[in-house]
């Protein structure tokens, strides 16, 4: 049973067109393995939406469809009002530079130092910047994640939490309007998880970004979510604020909050 609760999104946000709009998204791997069976999701500018669901419910697939890493079988995905499923790679890349993606395992480039990881991304999209300006941007963004001292380190020298922060810095260096977080606190201790969650919150406040956060960490969800959606059997099963879903009549929904 789908439970859709009235959302406390400001009126101004409701009037705006959603920055991400997903309608009837289908994705199957093989003939008998449908993962998404008609996902509908709208995210407004400045909103942080947390996506919950059991492992394998298609949360990561949904956000990978948004950036074109996974090709959807059917449905519509509009980002910044543009339908991305019909786009060629060039058009999609124009959208991609406006979207940041934080991977579950950070996905830092192993053969590059932290500085090179950031410069590699920045120099390809801001070709008018000279070396000094690139260096300034790198230091600025590393300071914003509290890791300016790690600039010359290799990814293998960093802890899990540090890798996440550097990956986030690499995402932020292109000043994205939307950030998609794929399990940002997975594999981290409670304190580091909280630090990452607070960082997500600070980024939103500072840059007014829109986010979709996939997580199993309820502390992270509580701290960051303006709205929570729960995926079940390939569709959005429930939607609402943290408090609303915590007190849901649906026992399965409540089980996430125990």
């Amino acid at each position: 049973m789908q439970e859709l609760i009235n959302l406390e999104i400001p009126v101004a946000q409701h009037l705006q067109a959603p920055i991400i709009e997903i309608k009837g998204l289908f994705k199957a791997f093989g003939k008998n393995n449908p993962i998404l069976k008609g996902v509908n999701l709208s995210v407004h500018k400045g909103e942080d939406v947390v996506v919950l669901g059991k492992s394998g419910s298609g949360k990561s697939i949904t956000i990978k469809c948004i950036v074109g890493l996974v090709q959807a079988d059917k449905g519509e995905i509009k980002v910044f009002g543009q339908e991305i499923l019909d786009m060629n790679t060039g058009q999609l890349n124009e959208i991609r530079v406006r979207i940041g993606f934080l991977f579950q395992n950070s996905a830092l480039y192993d053969s590059m130092t932290v500085r090179q990881n950031l410069a590699f991304t920045l120099q390809r999209h801001a070709k008018d910047l000279n070396d000094e300006e690139v260096e300034k941007e790198i230091i600025e963004v590393l300071e914003s994640v509290g890791l300016a001292e790690a600039i010359h380190k290799m990814p293998s020298e960093l802890s899990g939490g540090m890798r996440k922060r550097i990956a986030l810095a690499r995402t932020l260096i292109l000043k994205p309007e939307i950030i998609l977080y794929d399990e940002p606190t997975t594999g981290l201790d409670t304190i580091t998880s909280r630090e990452i969650s607070e960082l997500i919150l600070n980024i939103k406040k500072k840059n007014n970004t829109t986010s979709i956060i996939i997580t199993h960490d309820m502390a992270c969800a509580k701290l960051t979510a303006d709205r929570i959606v729960i995926l079940k059997d390939g569709v959005i099963h429930a939607e609402g604020s943290y408090t609303e879903l915590e007190n849901s009549k649906d026992e399965w929904v409540r089980s996430f909050f125990i």
Binding site: V67, T89, R96, A107, Y109, H125, R170, L174
Partner: protein, 252 residues
């Protein structure tokens, strides 16, 4: 059996698609010139010691093994020419290519495979960076250009090894040895043998990149990609060599 053939045709299809994507991307700007130079350094310069040792041993051993047979016919003076011909036409290109298949193709397969399973390739894609152009095109171009140079280097070192081999049982000056080598060589010995090394280089790079780039998720697939790259590249080298020898025989 039907499934086996289906898989073989499927593989041939995907490899062809991969290769055609390379030819499309290689001519389309922007060009990753810095990465190409870096790969030339890694693939070419860093393989020099291995190729030098192998080349030297090839030349030395070939001389020592051939001497008794030639001595039976009193044709020891043919030794420099015979060694040089064998090295340049066949042994140095094939052995160097096989050494490089082991070192470079497996290295590329493992590197790209691990980048694939740790989502580094996906990270490039979502940052609107073309991973195919950055990772694949640069590596294939570098192997295509560096393997011929390494083979020429191995030819030279092998001939030098031959000189030492000849001098172990005889006495010949370096100048005399080199002049005997060049007396026995013609343009047609060098050109077809060098042309085929470009193909060796292309396939060493392409197979390594293909195996790594198409690795499935999971660390096990990284090992499989590296292993499969070496096996396929080595086999491909022999097939290309056979075709090259047939074509050379036909036209020259």
């Amino acid at each position: 059996m039907i499934i086996y053939f289906k898989n073989v045709f499927n593989d041939v299809g995907t490899v062809t698609e991969f290769a055609s994507k390379f030819f499309k991307e290689v001519f389309t700007p922007p060009y990753e010139f810095k990465e190409f130079i870096k790969q030339c350094y890694v693939i070419g310069y860093k393989s020099l010691p291995l190729v030098a040792i192998t080349g030297f041993i090839m030349g030395l051993v070939l001389t020592l093994q051939s001497r008794p047979t030639l001595a039976k016919f009193g044709a020891e003076s043919w030794l420099p020419g015979m060694v040089a011909l064998s090295l340049i036409r066949e042994i140095a290109p094939v052995i160097t290519a096989l050494i490089c298949a082991g070192k470079i193709s497996s290295g590329i397969g493992a590197e790209l495979g691990s980048m694939k399973v740790t989502e580094q390739i996906d990270a490039m894609e979502v940052a609107a960076i073309n991973p195919f152009k950055y990772l694949v095109v640069t590596r294939i171009l570098a192997t295509t250009l560096m393997i011929p140079l390494l083979v020429i280097f191995a030819d030279g070192i092998g001939i030098l090894g031959g000189f030492i081999g000849v001098n172990m049982h005889g006495d010949i000056t370096l100048v005399r040895y080199i002049s005997k080598v060049f007396e026995s060589l013609s343009f047609l010995d060098i050109v077809p043998a060098t042309i085929k090394t470009f193909f060796f280089g292309f396939f060493i790079g392409m197979i390594g990149c293909y195996k790594g780039f198409t690795a499935e998720n999971g660390t096990e697939s990284v090992g499989k990609a590296a292993n499969s790259a070496v096996v396929t590249a080595s086999l491909t080298i022999f097939i290309i060599d056979m075709l090259a020898v047939q074509l050379t025989d036909l036209f020259f």
